[in-house]
């Protein structure tokens, strides 16, 4: 159903990865992404993939949940794979297949296509580890804290974080609401599945209008509730949950840096194939 589409599904568990400070998780994810992009041969992928597997194992997130996030973008991965396999050009490439529809497939383009698909896959899996092990709330907390320096140049960091956390908070609510409204209109004979594209778009109107009015209603109610409690994002606001850099963070950082060093060594000594 609709809910399955939303990524950022938190998987509750007690694990070292869940315990990590969201800030270090975000920074390490960025580091991991950098690694994936500087990797130049499959040895590098072996290392980064190993890091990913270790993290997944430690996080106690079942593989099923991981794979669900891949399912959402499998189409994009396939698409880039096909584009690359047919259109990647390189000197000295040996043609593997050139028959009928399968034209211009060379050993290099095949290699390149696999490489790029793997890169995307690792990217998505790594990012989903962050969202699977971090609640949206602590994620925004982390982002807010990381962006704090920007507030010195009058950038509204706190407000931005607030907007983000409210938006995240309301995604499931609005999803639920959408499902309810769809059910209600179906009960009145609405048909969302037949007809041409134009007809289907028009059929969505009875869902969108109540959804938008209810979003406004909720926004108003939330605003009133915050006002009633004298909410303001002033400077001296304290946090309910203090973020703390602890031993697991240190361990994660050391591990990631080691892998980074490994990747660089692989690139230098085992040959760059891309």
């Amino acid at each position: 159903m609709l809910k399955d589409v939303v990524f950022g599904q938190y998987y509750p568990a007690k694990s070292p990865v869940h315990r990590m400070d969201p800030r270090s998780k975000i920074v390490l994810l960025i580091l991991y992404i950098v690694m994936i992009f500087i990797v130049k041969n499959f040895w590098g992928f072996l290392l980064t993939g190993g890091l990913l597997l270790a993290t997944v194992f430690l996080s106690k997130v079942p593989l099923k949940s991981m794979l669900r996030s891949v399912k959402a973008i499998i189409f994009i991965i396939l698409f880039t794979f096909i584009i690359n396999i047919f259109f990647h050009k390189e000197d000295g490439a040996k043609i593997l297949w050139d028959v009928w529809l399968i034209r211009n497939v060379t050993d290099k383009s095949l290699y390149y296509a696999i490489f790029m698909a793997l890169r995307l896959l690792l990217l998505v899996l790594g990012s989903s580890i962050l969202t699977l092990t971090t609640t949206p709330v602590s994620l925004t907390d982390g982002i807010e804290s990381l962006l704090k320096p920007l507030s010195y140049i009058k950038f509204p960091v706190h407000e931005l974080a607030l907007i983000m956390s409210i938006a995240l908070r309301f995604i499931p609510t609005l999803m639920e609401e959408t499902e309810r409204i769809i059910a209600a209109q179906k009960a009145r004979g609405a048909d969302f599945e037949s007809g041409n594209l134009f007809k289907r778009a028009k059929a969505l109107l009875p869902v969108l209008i109540p959804l938008i009015t209810s979003a406004f209603r909720r926004a108003e109610e939330l605003g009133d509730a915050m006002d009633a409690r004298c909410y303001n994002g002033s400077k001296n606001r304290t946090k309910y949950k203090k973020l703390k850099f602890s031993l697991v963070d240190l361990f994660g950082t050391v591990l990631s840096l080691t892998v980074l060093a490994g990747v660089i060594l692989c690139n230098l000594y085992l040959g760059a194939t891309i």
């Binding site: 079942p62 099923k64 209600a184 209109q185 009960a187 009145r188 609405a190 109107l205 009875p206 209008i209």
Partner: protein, 302 residues
């Protein structure tokens, strides 16, 4: 149309770590002509169950028939023609089984009350002439006790809460269902609005709609209005009967996380001090019986 279901099971988020067992073997028969109440603690599966009755939730496991429609799960692969047939059937089923969700006023969408109420008619009966649509719409709006001429061109969003709810109900009964299902129709209404709504349901039941099924958390309303009641508990129907049968066992009712109606509570307390009153727990009957008792004791005193 009778409703018959046996061993109905349903799980939300099946095959994920968030699975929740909403129905765990519901077996229930609802006869045509009943004013049927469904009660049960929150999360007992009431809303999930009623959404099976018009095919909004497909049957995962178990048997369910509504009149001539067999909604039970079949594993047989279907041809394209059969699928089309099935879809048409579903549409007919949804026409015959009207469903009013909780807070139905939040589903209003059209520019005018007329357009909103006629939405279902146009969907279910696309071949009607505009005049026929107008007559059905007018009937529905007047049935729920609103002034057709005054309200038909208004925007549904400028009405009061109670009026909105009436418009929403009109939108469901407009296509003349023979079963009407309402999920907590009184939520958020004031006492007068509540009484008016129950009166409306009774007049619908007498005149146009054969079977009415109401999910309610208010035991007083259930005791006073329903002919039959089913008690849901953790995804199962653990008891069905008349309000009188159910509410005389107050220990059982509170075991289910529910409360007995005030009349049953009073009856039991009076019994404890030695005054026996026989009533079916509707307010009227209770008052009558109690008055009779007082008269009799007066006579005895004389």
């Amino acid at each position: 149309m009778d409703i018959f279901c046996k061993d109905l099971y349903y799980q939300y988020n099946k095959n994920t770590e968030f699975v929740s067992y909403a129905l765990n073997g519901v077996s229930l028969t609802i006869k045509e002509g009943e004013f049927f109440g469904i009660i049960g603690h929150t999360g007992s599966g009431k809303s999930t169950f009623i959404q099976h009755l018009n095919g909004l939730i497909p049957v995962e496991q178990g048997i369910l028939t509504v009149g001539d429609y067999d909604l039970s799960k079949t594993d047989v692969k279907k041809s394209k023609k059969e699928k089309k047939q099935l879809k048409d059937n579903l549409k007919n089923l949804r026409r015959s089984v009207g469903m009013v969700f909780q807070y139905p006023e939040y589903q209003l969408f059209a520019e005018t009350v007329f357009d909103d109420v006629s939405f279902g008619i146009k969907n279910f009966m696309p071949n009607l002439s505009p005049e026929e649509v107008r007559i059905l719409t007018k009937n529905a709006i007047e049935t729920v006790g609103l002034d057709y001429e005054k309200i038909k061109d208004k925007s549904p969003f400028e009405l009061s809460g109670g009026q909105k709810r009436r418009v929403a109900i009109a939108g469901v009964i407009a296509s003349r269902p023979s079963i009407l299902i309402l999920d907590e129709p009184c939520a958020g209404l004031d006492p007068t609005g509540k009484t008016a709504l129950w009166n409306l349901l009774h007049s619908l039941h007498e005149r146009v709609i054969k079977t009415i099924i109401v999910v309610s958390h208010d035991m007083n309303d259930v005791a006073s209005n329903c002919t039959s009641v089913a008690v849901f508990n953790r995804g199962k129907v653990i008891k069905t009967g008349t309000p009188k049968e159910l509410f005389s066992d107050s220990a059982f009712i509170s075991d289910c996380g529910l409360e007995v109606p005030v009349t049953a509570y009073l009856t039991e307390n009076l019994k404890n001090v030695g005054i026996k009153i026989d009533s079916d727990y509707t307010i009227n009957r209770f008052a009558e019986s109690f008055a009779n008792y007082l008269k009799n004791t007066e006579k005895a005193d004389l």
